[in-house]
């Protein structure tokens, strides 16, 4: 713990090694040994040089290749300001200790005990770093969502069990959705009793882990539990690893804004709820904006719910801000904030228009529900006064708002009834005030106000207002703070901008002090529409102060409140003249050109954007004016844009009437300097003047802002400094050079930063090595890097010139800000089944991504998935932020570019898949699952894919074979039937190539006419349709089958079904469209079998050929040899097969003799064989005997030799020992 809170400047006594004694001796000896080794190396330096040039070359090539592989294309870092907290997703199978890891880490960072882990937990982990811990839910939907937001994934693995499927599934999901940093954590290692076994297991698991990620991936070991927690030291190490982690920017995330929701409120009006519990709800979602800047009007996708329009986006003050940038080492205790509203931590929550005070459930005793449920148990007890009061409050029929509205109390002397006018702002705040008053819970507020006064950190707003009260000093202040005033006014109207007022402007600083000395500190007055801002500011200060101080309550709040009201009234008066002043300044300001172009009400549209407002403002006004007389409407539109709705569409704008007479000398002289023949220096001055002017302008507008930046950030400080320098030498080239220099410096800073953290030497080393290599390789990569850096600097410089409002307009909400997103009309199920354990991901939708269409992806079935995938079986895919079920058609690309449909995915190959769904840009990763249920033993990831392109038309084809039979054969022409069903179809296929089984090729000609053979069966009936006349290269037979081979388009089903698993109970499995197999199983249907498709044993009848018939005329002409001869077949067999053989006496004798001789020879051979057998047996016996003997001898010899060796070894050992 001490390390983190870090008093490292404390001096320790240096270690003094022993100078004498045995330990000193030992040291000396070991030193000497080390030295020897070194010297030995030096003896023969050549031994370590390269011997062969080839080898040297190869080594060098390998080194460079390794280096190159590390390089990534540099991307422009477009994030400015503080980064959002990094998301650490803790994932693992159930019961592996996920929440305990989070609890331990939170305890380590904040020294707070977390009772339970629900929802994201934000903590400040260092001076520059915040972390947000999220526990990954067990189901696959949650895993997919968590993988999309993780900056670092901690994969918890039960060491005693080994890897489980969940881990690998999660890894696969991570890989597809951009690969964030991953660290494995082994738990349950105390189950091992045997040290050796433990070591082996660790080794085994580590290597398995490495094969999955990369060699050398970090696997962390948590050895066991101590008092139900992981050991402190190990958690400390783990935290260190997390704290030095560098996160990579992932391309999908850097191009899409997203918010991990860490707080969720239902803000549906209660009346509506009372009417209908199942009405569509309005919800607010809170979280840090990540990814890229979010433009206003961005549509969002809430994972598990669907696409929504944002009804409002508000910037809230950071609930868990980084510590101030004061120079100090480590974190102070009061900086160690943490924020986990879903876990029920943090008692106060600040919203746009309300403050929530959290009271734990067990402390609440007055709620109605409690009363109803536990009313019986508490019957006996008497209620105390407070309780009764609260009860009576609860039993009121009307809300305070309604009462106020109905009663028309004039609260303040000169103000009209509140309810009528300021519905939007004032009402809420007033009522809120009242409520607070009643409940007496606004203690912290008052104390905050008092404190802030004492601290002297008064914001500019309060100063200016206080100065308004001070009648004498009024004008003085106004004169000085003219610009500021107008700015503030702007900001006031535009609610939710807390950042700017937070920092006092430099010229106000002076003012502030004076005010402080005068002791005018009670002026926390807030004008009618300032109330929000007041709240916000308070909350800002709140955050800056210690959280603990909130508990202190002050008693004199009521008095203050009174004063508040009074000053409010006065401020209301004052605001009138201020408004006119503001108008005047606005008139003077040059930016009104922007208003001219974009219309006046740019500020209004900031907070709430509907889709309707996407159409331009002037058109809106036209909408309103639709039913007005025509002339009037035209007039109005002309005011705005001097262009009528049906104007000519022409980019050329020529006004020949107003042409000057360019023959006139004077007029020519006026543009003389715009030509190279003119005065170059004057022309240069022209540019200079303009530059000067622009910069002056910018300073006017945003001088305070830049100063704000200098206070906070080094980088912008530089830009500012250099910016002021550049005013002296305003030249384009200089400007460019300056930016380049800045870029270089920033690059150097970035490099330096890496090696800076002193507590991580390994990282430093690797970092320096990497930079070394970069420096070496120079060239193209460096150029790219420099370009990216230059781009970034230009962006920063240009944006710094703008004031906050304009910046928000053109840039959108910045990453790292804490946003409140209001979404209207979400299904009530989302609120009903809201579960903090499942992270809610809100992702922005890019241009064109809300459209639907066909997508072509390159897909590969996961090798662990058991079955191949079938075309048209629904799968659930996750692309971008979305998850949806769709019906793919698989295909493969043939050599000629045709996409041929596949019935099943290939076993081990990539294939194409085409499906219908919301479009995602090319190169987006896709992960597919077939079933989202939890109780599957097998691997759930079905396939992974990447989007190749999207298309509105699919071009998948499958082979089709039309089969027909000849019904009439002429010479080479035949009429084919059964191939086509209608004459129209024949017409479609005219000219198509056909073929018979025997290989005779042909062509379809036309539909057969009636007169040639196509006669109906019965006279008077219609001729048969679909008979085609075809020609062949040869005459075909009636028994021939004719084929037409063609390709036909395959329709991809236009179906997709968003996975709305957030709209149902979490323990319920989402079920969508079923596969055919599932349906069959459910309904007990057999698989349909086409009899023709079955394989049968092939029976081929012997072909009987008719005898060849040769016409008689031909026979007559043939020569005799070729003439068929008429020979009658024999009735009796030939004589040779029939006759008996009788031997002559001499022959008989010879025969007998030969038989005798053979008999004798056979006998002889038999005898010889017997003899040889005997001999061989004897020989083998002899041989075995000899071998036995020799083996024995050899063994003896060996024994003797070993004995000798042993003796010698012992002797040697003894001698060594003596030495």
């Amino acid at each position: 713990m001490a390390v983190v809170s870090g008093n490292q400047d404390q001096l320790h006594k240096a270690h003094r090694s022993r100078q004498a004694g045995p330990s000193a001796k030992r040291k000396k000896k070991s030193d000497k040994k080390k030295g020897d080794v070194l010297e030995e190396k030096k003896h023969n330096p050549k031994a370590f040089a390269f011997n062969s040039t080839v080898k040297a070359k190869r080594l060098q090539a390998r080194a460079t290749e390794k280096e190159q592989r590390k390089l990534h294309i540099p991307i422009v870092d477009r994030s400015t300001g503080e980064p959002a907290p990094f998301v650490v997703v803790v994932h693992g199978p159930p019961k592996v200790g996920k929440s305990l890891v989070i609890k331990s880490l939170v305890k380590h960072y904040t020294k707070q005990n977390l009772p339970e882990v629900r929802g994201p937990i934000t903590i400040v982990s260092g001076k520059q770093r915040r972390l947000q811990f999220v526990e990954c839910p067990d189901d696959i939907n949650g895993m997919i969502d968590a993988a999309k937001i993780a900056d670092l994934a901690l994969l918890l693995v039960d060491g005693s069990y080994g890897f489980e499927m969940e881990t690998f599934e999660f890894l696969n999901i991570l890989q597809v959705h951009g690969f964030p940093k991953i660290m494995g954590v082994l738990t349950h290692l105390d189950k091992f009793k045997d040290v050796k076994k433990l070591k082996k297991t660790k080794q085994r698991l580590k290597h398995r882990f490495w094969t999955e990620i990369y060699d050398g991936a970090k696997l962390f070991y948590l050895s066991g539990l101590i008092h139900g927690k992981y050991p402190k030291r190990e958690i400390h190490n783990l935290a260190r690893f997390i704290s030095v982690m560098k996160f990579r920017p992932l391309s999908w995330r850097t191009s899409h804004p997203y918010v991990l929701v860490d707080r969720f409120e239902d803000v549906t009006p209660p009346e509506k709820l009372q009417m209908n519990r199942k009405c569509d709800r309005n919800v607010t979602l809170y979280g840090y904006l990540r990814g890229c800047n979010m433009k206003q009007g961005t549509k969002v996708h809430i994972a598990g719910v669907g696409d929504c329009n944002l009804a409002g986006v508000t910037v809230l003050p950071d609930p868990c801000p980084l510590p101030s940038a004061a120079k100090k080492k480590g974190l102070r205790d009061k900086d160690k904030l943490f924020y986990a509203p879903m876990s029920g931590l943090g008692d106060l929550l600040y919203d746009k228009d309300a403050v929530y005070i959290n009271i734990n459930d067990h402390l609440v005793q007055f709620s109605k529900v409690d009363d109803e449920i536990a009313g019986t148990s508490r019957k006996g007890k008497d209620r105390d006064v407070g309780e009764v009061l609260v009860k009576s409050l609860q039993n009121m029929k009307y809300s305070v708002d309604e009462k106020l509205e109905n009663s028309f109390i004039t609260l303040f002397g000169r103000k009209p009834p509140v309810s009528a006018e300021d519905k939007g702002d004032a009402k809420a705040s007033y009522s809120e005030d009242c409520v607070e008053d009643m409940v007496h819970m606004d203690g912290p507020f008052a104390s905050e106000k008092a404190e802030s006064g004492e601290d002297g950190t008064i914001d500019t707003d309060s100063i200016s207002e206080s100065s308004e009260q001070d009648k004498s000093g009024e004008k003085h202040v106004v004169a000085e703070n003219e610009d500021n005033d107008s700015d503030e006014e702007d900001d006031d109207e535009w609610e939710g901008d807390g950042d700017k007022e937070q920092q006092p402007t430099p010229n106000c600083d002076f003012e502030e002090k004076i005010e402080f000395h005068n002791g005018r500190l009670r002026r926390k007055a807030v004008s009618a529409h300032d109330v929000h801002d007041g709240d916000l500011k308070d909350s800002d200060e709140d955050e800056e102060d210690d959280m603990d101080s909130k508990s202190s309550a002050s008693s004199d709040f009521a008095v203050e409140d009174e004063e508040d009201h009074q000053t409010e009234e006065e401020a209301g008066n004052a605001s009138k003249w201020r408004e006119s002043l503001k108008e005047r300044t606005a008139m003077r300001q040059s930016t009104n050109l922007m208003q001219l172009v974009y219309g006046k009400s740019t500020l209004e549209s900031v907070t709430s954007i509907h889709e309707e407002q996407a159409s331009s403002e002037d058109e809106e006004s036209e909408d309103d004016d639709f039913f007005r007389p025509k002339g009037e409407a035209n007039k109005k539109s002309e005011e705005l844009d001097s262009y009528d709705a049906n104007g000519e569409d022409c980019s050329k704008f020529t006004n020949h009437g107003k042409l000057k007479n360019w023959k006139n000398e004077e007029i020519i002289e006026s543009i003389r300097d715009r030509f190279v023949t003119g005065d170059w220096s004057k022309a240069a001055r022209r540019g200079q003047a303009s530059d000067d002017d622009s910069e002056d302008d910018d300073d006017d507008v945003s001088g305070d802002f830049e100063d704000l930046e200098t206070g906070e950030k080094n980088e912008s400080h530089q830009t500012n400094n250099v910016g002021s320098r550049s005013q002296n030498n305003d030249d384009q080239a200089n400007e460019e050079r300056r930016l380049k220099k800045l870029a270089l410096r920033a690059k150097f800073d970035a490099q330096y930063e890496v090696s800076e953290p002193p507590d991580e030497e390994a990282d430093e080393k690797s970092g320096s090595k990497l930079h070394g290599s970069e420096a070496n390789d120079g060239g193209y990569f460096d150029k790219l890097k420099e370009e990216a850096e230059l781009r970034k600097q230009i962006n920063i410089a240009e944006l710094n010139d703008l004031d906050e409002a304009a910046r928000l307009e053109i840039e959108g909400f910045r990453t790292g800000t804490y946003l409140r997103l209001e979404v209207h009309n979400v299904p009530f199920e989302m609120v009903e089944h809201f579960d903090p354990c499942h992270p809610i991901l809100v992702g922005g939708i890019g241009l064109g991504e809300e459209n639907v269409g066909y997508m072509q992806v390159r897909l590969k079935r996961h090798r662990w998935h058991r079955k191949v995938l079938k075309t048209r079986d629904p799968i659930i895919v996750s692309i971008g932020w979305r998850r949806f079920q769709t019906v793919p058609v698989y295909a493969i690309e043939d050599r000629n570019g045709r996409h041929r449909m596949l019935k099943y995915t290939p076993e081990h190959m990539h294939c194409l898949a085409m499906f219908w769904g919301p479009l995602a840009p090319p190169n987006t990763g896709v992960v597919a699952v077939q079933n989202v249920s939890n109780n599957q033993a097998s691997f759930r990831i079905t396939a992974t894919a990447v989007v190749l392109e999207f298309n509105h038309a699919t071009r998948i084809a499958k082979k089709i074979k039309l089969v027909g039979n000849p019904c009439k054969i002429f010479k080479k022409t035949a009429l084919i039937r059964d191939m086509f069903t209608s004459d129209l179809e024949v017409a479609r296929f005219e000219g198509a190539a056909i073929r018979t089984v025997s290989g005779i090729r042909g062509q379809v000609k036309k539909a057969a006419k009636e007169e040639i053979g196509n006669k109906p069966k019965k006279k008077g009936g219609q001729p048969r349709e679909g008979i085609a006349r075809c020609t062949f290269e040869d005459r075909i037979l009636m028994s021939d089958i004719v084929f037409l081979r063609a390709w036909t388009q395959v329709e991809v089903p236009r179906f997709f079904n968003p996975l709305t698993n957030a709209l149902q109970s979490r323990d319920q499995v989402w079920s969508g469209m079923k596969t055919v197999a599932e349906l069959r199983k459910e309904q007990n249907l057999p698989v349909p079998v086409n009899k023709d498709s079955l394989y049968k044993p092939i029976e081929r009848k012997q072909r009987k050929f008719n005898p060849l018939v040769i016409p008689k005329s031909l026979q007559a002409a043939l020569p005799f040899a070729s003439k068929p001869k008429d020979r009658s077949s024999r009735k009796r067999p030939l004589l040779e097969s029939r006759r008996a053989v009788v031997m002559e006496p001499h022959e008989r004798k010879v025969h007998a003799l030969v038989q005798h001789l053979q008999l004798i020879r056979n006998e002889k051979m038999k005898k010889r064989k017997l003899k040889e057998d005997e001999k061989r047996k004897a020989h083998e016996a002899e041989k075995a005997k000899n071998e036995e003997l020799s083996r024995k001898r050899q063994r003896e010899e060996r024994r003797g030799r070993y004995r000798e060796e042993e003796k010698q070894k012992k002797r040697r050992a003894g001698r060594n020992a003596e030495i």
Partner: protein, 379 residues
């Protein structure tokens, strides 16, 4: 399955711009009240022709027009591009009207675009093909468009009313996205170039125009070269006409152009003007002087592009990745302003517009919408 939500717009103004942005951003649009009160209500032939062109180069776009033509429903498809396409632009507007959106669409296609456009090449209403070649194409290169494959070839010229010209436009597609620019240095004019053309009239007209134009420039700049392009025979189209296109190049590589053409008015226009005189055609000397004056006017205004190209410049800036683009233009033209509004509506990109009183120019800054070439195929 999914209901497409249409963005509702009104009036016929800026139809090209709207369709172009709608196609790029993938937003379906519904335009109502297209010239409802005119004698000839509804869409004009050139607008129909442009819709046909869009159908030609995109895949699966849906265009629905009601009977009177006052209501248009457009659902964009995927930009395909492709080679050897042919489109007849009709005779109501010149080819320049079609080239302006087409060149942007071509950048974001699936395949490089090469299309033959038939119709009127030179016209006084729209920028001529010469101007397009000399000014617009170099402008695109600034945004990182590869220069190979970016070309406009004039096969034959056609003047109104009969047309008969042919050009071949080829646009490469961009691999990923454009690149943001900072383009505020307008420089000084170092040379003036130009092209005159004449179809079915004497080539002497051209020399007269050149002479007149040079007479104005001579006091300012010696480096003035104006080429002649006299077409005859089949290359000259079907109607007589002559015209001139001038471009001034500055030291910082900006191009400013001005052009015009003289020809007989179109058939429909003459119907209206029948009772008046047959609209006197301008003399070549006057044309030369006038267009030189227009060019000097453009130069006087300052800015890195002329008023005609402002819209295109803003559009390209808005299509850049999410970096800051900064450009300087002269007086904002009405077309430029309308473009800015439409960019805001479709792409959500707003410009910061700061005038510079000393030079009379306007500096515009924006952060691009980060549009990528989505229709490109990954191999």
């Amino acid at each position: 399955m999914v209901k497409t939500s249409y963005m509702r717009l009104k009036g016929s103004q800026q139809l090209r711009q709207r369709l172009l942005l709608s196609t790029l951003a993938g937003t379906a649009i519904l335009i109502e009240d297209i010239r409802p009160d005119d004698t000839w209500p509804g869409l004009r032939p050139h607008e129909i022709s442009f819709l046909r062109l869009l159908e030609n180069i995109t895949d699966d776009c849906v265009v629905e027009i009601n009977e009177t033509g006052t209501k248009l429903k457009y659902k964009p498809g995927v930009l395909m591009g492709g080679r050897h396409l042919v489109h007849d632009c009709g005779l109501s507007r010149s080819i320049g009207y079609f080239l302006e959106p087409l060149v942007v669409l071509g950048l974001f296609g699936k395949k490089p675009l090469s299309i033959k456009l038939k119709g009127i090449t030179n016209d006084s209403k729209d920028p001529s093909v010469d101007t397009f070649r000399s000014t617009t194409l170099p402008m695109l290169k600034r945004f990182g468009v590869p220069s190979e494959g970016l070309d406009l070839k004039i096969e034959s010229r056609g003047s109104p009313p009969e047309g008969g010209g042919e050009v071949i436009l080829s646009v490469p597609m961009i691999q990923n996205s454009l690149s943001a620019i900072t383009w505020v240095d307008e420089g000084m004019v170092k040379r003036i170039r130009g092209v005159t053309y004449s179809t079915r009239v004497s080539s002497q007209f051209e020399n007269t125009m050149i002479h007149a134009a040079r007479g104005i420039f001579n006091q300012l700049l010696p480096d003035v070269h104006i080429a002649t392009d006299h077409k005859s025979g089949s290359q000259a189209g079907k109607s007589p006409g002559y015209g001139i296109s001038l471009v001034a190049e500055t030291t910082s590589g900006c191009f400013m152009s001005a052009d015009t053409a003289v020809c007989h008015a179109r058939g429909k226009d003459t119907d209206v003007l029948e009772d008046e005189e047959q609209e006197e055609l301008k003399r070549p000397e006057d044309v030369g002087e006038q267009i030189a004056s227009v060019l000097l006017g453009e130069i006087e205004q300052g800015g890195v592009v002329d008023s005609t190209h402002q819209g295109l410049l803003f559009l390209l800036c808005a299509l850049c990745p999410q970096d800051v683009s900064k450009v300087r233009v002269g007086k904002l033209s009405p077309y430029g302003i309308e473009t800015l509004r439409h960019i805001r509506d479709f792409l959500g990109v707003k410009f910061v517009i700061t005038p510079e009183p000393t030079t009379g120019t306007v500096i515009l800054k924006c952060i691009g919408s980060g549009l990528k070439n989505l229709s490109r195929k990954i191999s």
